[in-house]
Symmetry: C2
Subunit: 312 residues, 2 copies
């Protein structure tokens, strides 16, 4: 038996295509395309890649992107001024702050910035009022990664209601909101984390296992009930050839690419899970592209809602 | 074996006693006692009992209570005016709206009223910004029933970290926030509900079982792992003598009281759980009094925080 591979990349493309008529409608009614404001600070290479991907996808869809890239030496006040400008602008519909932000701004700075974003433009849905609405099952904007996972399950016709979902990882961005969204859709939900004893045996009770722990190839076949659906949220860059050689065949295309680049992206799920899972998301090409697609959806949603509230 | 009984009523009295020096401090600094504004609408007998208990406890502690009791014929706007007055008042520290409110106000009315309460005075912690902060593990005011349960566990020295907690019931008031609070304290948490298959067998994996389903004596011994801690959140009034006769001895004091009153309060947990559980909260005298005590704590917390923010 081999798991069916859930094609996140393909679904992300479909979701984006479906947005085109909605964007056209908005353009006709609003006289401009929806616009996403992005605040990026410093020169973290991973952040630059993430922002480039988001921007590229948005521009492909004809959305406007206002990318403000502040230097690492900028102050928190400059960041706040940028968010204020986005908040007050008539033509900015969505706002996101790419993390991490400079450590020197203090441990509360990202929270301060998230709270400053107008909730109606909060396309990452990190503002506490949006987090609260999510928990109350009345959110309009929901965080992108969990939304993408729900969308993938729905469109793959994988049951949620009545299933036992186990979420490994309790982050604010993925684990906790996804647990709530699965609960609202009538799954029985277990949330596990680094201090859970017997992690593998609890995971192995899941019909639906979501892994968001940030540890490369951590979840092995013994974590998985035969036939279960496994969603791999992890994106980890590994460089150890000994580890890589245990994961992929020595003469494969990926091996050659690894030898060339010196690194490889893997998920939190070990490749041996393919032999037991019923369905599995790949890394790359699984949850990652869906996250970007749902950001596009949220931007269009926010724009449309703003247009409706202005004209009503 | 017989479960040790967790004395919620006694602990509630202790928690309230501990508040007295804090209330005295507030009185000295603020020149008045903390004040709780309560909005009660209509003549639901259960609501009147709840409000009476809250008011009595507050007044015993020397808190001021401003109870506004509107008739069932009042309008939603009148309710909003009352909340506005509480919000704007210098001397009102906590605000609560007793539910249910009149059905004729529409299905969104209670949500509208909760959202209107100033978050810093929101002693029930139902405002979405407070719900979000709870999920983000940075709440200062937390909902009273789950807070009372956490307090009971801590003071009874029942471990939370590393334990498997199973919460039966996913309400906004108890199940969901309690699941988050247990998670923040490093339990592994499973949330079950009416659409969970194999409810008894999942419950029986719990080290810590919290039952908040609103179904009289629903959880029987087969739901409980020997030695588990069982928290019974239910308060149900039953009137069927056949059911009552299966729960208590025919010559007991409670039976005589039942014969006299024609009704009896029971929890969601069947008495036969006493034989398997390690510890169990009684009904009445368990979670109920703790809920009221935590409302007092929240009122004093809110008052103190407002005083500090005014003088800083």
């Amino acid at each position: 038996m081999s798991a069916s591979i859930l094609d996140g990349k393909g679904l992300a493309a479909t979701i984006c295509e479906e947005l085109i008529p909605r964007i056209d409608d908005f353009l006709r009614s609003g006289g401009r395309p929806p616009q996403l404001g992005i605040l990026l600070v410093g020169d973290n290479p991973a952040s630059e890649v993430y922002v480039r991907n988001k921007r590229r996808r948005a521009e492909e869809l004809g959305l406007d992107v206002d990318l403000v890239h502040l230097p690492a030496t900028a102050s928190l006040d400059e960041a706040k001024l940028t968010i204020n400008r986005f908040n007050e602008s008539e033509s900015h519909d969505g706002i996101l702050v790419q993390v991490p932000i400079p450590l020197g701004w203090g441990s509360d700075a990202s929270r301060e910035l998230f709270e400053q974003i107008h909730p109606a433009k909060d396309v990452d849905s990190f503002h506490s009022i949006n987090v609260g609405r999510l928990m109350q099952n009345r959110a309009t904007l929901m965080p992108c990664t969990p939304s993408g996972i729900i969308e993938l399950l729905l469109r793959s016709e994988i049951a949620i209601e009545g299933q036992h979902a186990v979420v490994l990882g309790r982050s604010e961005i993925v684990g906790r909101p996804l647990a709530m969204m699965l609960l609202h859709r009538h799954a029985t939900v277990t949330i596990c984390h680094s201090r859970t004893p017997n992690l593998a045996s609890i995971a192995a009770t899941a019909d639906l296992l979501v892994v968001a722990v940030g540890r490369p190839v951590f979840v092995t076949h013994d974590f998985v009930k035969p036939g279960a659906t496994v969603i791999d949220v992890g994106i980890n860059r590994i460089t150890d050839p000994d580890l890589v050689s245990t994961l992929i065949a020595a003469d494969s295309v990926r091996w050659k690419a690894f030898k060339q680049r010196g690194s490889m992206l893997v998920g939190d799920v070990h490749p041996d899970v393919q032999k037991v899972a019923g369905a599995l998301t790949p890394v790359p090409g699984g949850v990652g592209p869906l996250t970007v697609a749902m950001l596009m959806v949220n931007t269009v949603e926010a724009a449309t809602a703003r247009l409706l509230s202005n004209t009503s």
